[in-house]
Amino acid sequence: MIPLLRHIFRTGILTEPVPVAEDGPQREIDRLHDEILHILGRALTIREVDAGSCNGCELEIHALNNPYYNLEGRGIKFVASPRHADMLLVTGPVTKNMENALRIAYDCTPDPKLVVAVGDCGCSGGVFGESYASCGAVENVVGVDLRIPGCPPTPLALMQGILAAVRRRR
């Protein structure tokens, strides 16, 4: 136990302002956190739905919860059920095999809900486009409030996008 606590102590709190080289993005992270929560005045819950991605976007969505971005520590939480969610964060392209599941998840999300399409594929179908197997963009299947392009979008771009979607609803 003591070595473990020592390691935690040595690591310190990384979410605080960090060395000069990281100063730019870190300030931006703090500002975004504050603004999101100021607008919401409470927690935001997100249900992530992978509707056909290559899993690149998921890697960056995972990164949102690392100590640098610390999204959950600021009250923005990923939840297990769409029934508990304010926002659907959907990666694509939406495959035909996931079309039905995405519709069900959308219907299960209580109103008022926000839908954010993530990644070039979620925004437009990306390199995969529309085909016998792919519906392409998320908006071809469910209504979308905001798009976050990128292949994959960086964690910072994801945070900015989540904020923009929340701001639009205010």
Binding site: D50, S53, G56, L59, P67, A101, S131, Y132
Partner: protein, 532 residues
């Protein structure tokens, strides 16, 4: 050749400097089966199966056969890979079921039937990739599979039920999970048959990520092919890009500059470390050790930020291209890599001690989700999952009769194995492989060659090639065939998860439902990579 010298198959070695591949042709389905049995007897494994429509290209090399379809089987042997093809008539494209010899053939055969319409004469006939989004008699990878602008947009989507194997008996019941899972993870369906908390049986149904990659690759040029193959599984983008590049370079007889090879190795090993770091954190988390997740995710973020700084992309997508690499790095970048390896290595060493000495964590890891080497061989496993049962199989390392492709041959990779076969073993192998990759990265950075970073690639009409890369999960293969106009006629990317998914079905059988997330994570398989 290296196996069955009495066989009628003539093998020719593939050109180029990639992992050793021999290409041969069998005249009949029966002889394919005989060859497969011989491979099995020699301790070999099934590496991949796919099909292609050759009706436009004219007949195959077998005399007297009408132009039809071609079945491709790749087998892994001690000394390298045997790529065997079998021509099938257009009117009755049927071949013998190989799943009796190699159980791993099951899903690959069903996918081949769904995609190209060539089927086995017996065995499991349930659809695999086709869930009802397109008609059963329409095969996406046939050249005449044209429907509304060629891509088949506009079919009615009728999601079908799947014929899961039912488990009966008193108290037995089913837990259906997915396709949308509870975490931030790819979709797939797991059907558990349980009594109380004990898992009697798990059956997977995948295919939800099927987005028609192989169809898009037909007729694409080399550059678009690279972008598509680099997005088959985002966490393995470097491995796929390299395997594809190797296949194209073998077909086009391209000579890759030594500096490009070393830069590719830098990227592949950085990809391996990034994924292992993330997995070690997630494995701690799944055993309620959130400390582990936080610590490893911080290291991973540092790692990805340096990727961004050096290669212009956090996952190095589109940086490995046929001919070489699309990016170069300067001398200061190499010292940044050496410095980071030292810093991260020291921290991971401390974390390993904390993991090893944490009784709660070890209690969850040890004996959980165990498979043994005999099962791993039976299922044709490769990669980390195989090495965690004690099998010494790593495409980057020397073994008897096998010399790894450059630059690995000169680097002297020391493969990491662990004989326990459980979650603890897969954790231990990841730790070991991080240290080994850090050592390789330092060695490459110090001994970086100078010179060009990319050679020109001229497509060769009708040529083909197979690229094999030892990715962080296991063996990634990409088969490439050019058409008469020098465009891609057929590309098949193959993920090691094809073989490892069935091993997960076995690994959970002795355990309880709440251990499933931990066991699943310990394999961390790709959905997109097998759904294509």
């Amino acid at each position: 050749m290296f196996l069955c010298d009495d066989s009628s198959i003539e093998f020719t070695p593939q050109a180029g400097i990639g992992a050793p591949v021999w290409r041969g042709h069998v005249p009949s389905g029966e002889e394919l089966k005989t060859f497969a049995a011989a491979v099995h007897l020699a301790g070999g494994r099934l590496a991949a199966i796919w099909g292609s429509d050759e009706r436009q290209r004219g007949g195959g090399p077998s005399a007297g056969l009408r132009a039809g379809f071609r079945l491709h089987c790749v087998f892994g042997l001690e000394s390298g890979h045997a790529w065997v093809s079998l021509d099938l008539p257009a009117d009755e494209p049927v071949y013998p079921d190989l799943s009796g010899i190699f159980p791993a053939a099951n899903r690959m055969q069903r996918a081949t039937r769904d995609m190209v319409g060539i089927a086995t004469s017996g065995g499991d006939q349930r659809p695999w990739l086709r869930h009802g989004a397109w008609p059963a008699d329409w095969y996406p990878l046939r050249h005449d599979a044209v429907h509304e602008a060629g891509m088949g947009v506009g079919f009615q989507n009728f999601p079908s039920n799947y014929d899961f194997v039912q488990v009966g008996g008193e108290g037995a019941h089913e837990i259906p999970v997915g396709p949308i899972h509870a975490g931030i993870i790819e979709p797939g369906h797991f059907r558990f048959s349980v009594v109380g908390e004990r898992v009697l049986r798990l059956e997977q149904r995948l295919g939800y990520q099927h987005k028609g990659v192989e169809k898009l690759l037909i007729g694409a040029d080399i550059g678009r092919g690279a972008r598509l193959v680099g997005r088959v599984s985002g966490d393995s983008t470097c491995a796929y890009a390299w395997a594809y590049a190797t296949a194209v370079e073998a077909a086009c007889r391209t000579e890759v500059p030594p500096r490009a090879l070393l830069l590719r190795t830098l990227m592949l090993e950085r990809e391996r470390v990034a994924n292992h770091l993330g997995d070690l954190g997630a494995l701690g988390n799944d055993a309620a050790f959130a400390f582990g997740l936080t610590q490893f995710m911080r290291l991973k973020e540092d790692w990805l930020r340096l990727n961004q700084q050096l290669f212009g992309h956090r996952f190095m997508m589109d940086r490995i291209v046929p001919g070489g690499v699309a990016t170069d790095i300067e001398a200061p970048a190499l010292s940044a890599i050496v410095e980071q390896c030292a810093a991260i290595g020291a921290t991971v060493k401390q974390l390993r001690t904390l993991y090893d000495e944490h009784p709660g964590l070890q209690d969850r890891f040890a004996t959980t989700g165990a498979i043994d080497a005999a099962l791993a061989r039976e299922l044709s496993l490769t990669g980390m999952a195989a090495r965690a049962t004690g099998i010494l199989l790593d495409g980057r390392a020397h073994r008897q009769g096998y010399t790894p492709p450059p630059p690995y041959a000169a680097l002297g990779v020391r493969p990491v194995t662990d004989e326990r076969g459980d979650v603890a073993a897969r954790v231990a192998v990841r730790f070991g492989e991080i240290f080994e990759s850090l050592r390789l990265l330092r060695e490459i950075a110090v001994g970086m060659a100078s010179g060009e970073t990319c050679a020109e690639v001229t497509p060769v009409a009708g040529a083909g090639g197979l690229g094999v890369i030892e990715a962080w999960r296991g063996e990634v293969l990409v088969g490439v065939q050019f058409d008469a106009d020098g465009r891609l006629a057929r590309v098949h990317p193959h993920d090691p998860s094809w073989q490892i998914w069935p091993a997960l079905e076995h690994a959970v059988m002795k355990d309880i439902v709440p251990d499933f997330p931990l066991i699943n994570k310990s394999f961390n398989l790709s959905y997109s990579g097998v759904d294509l």
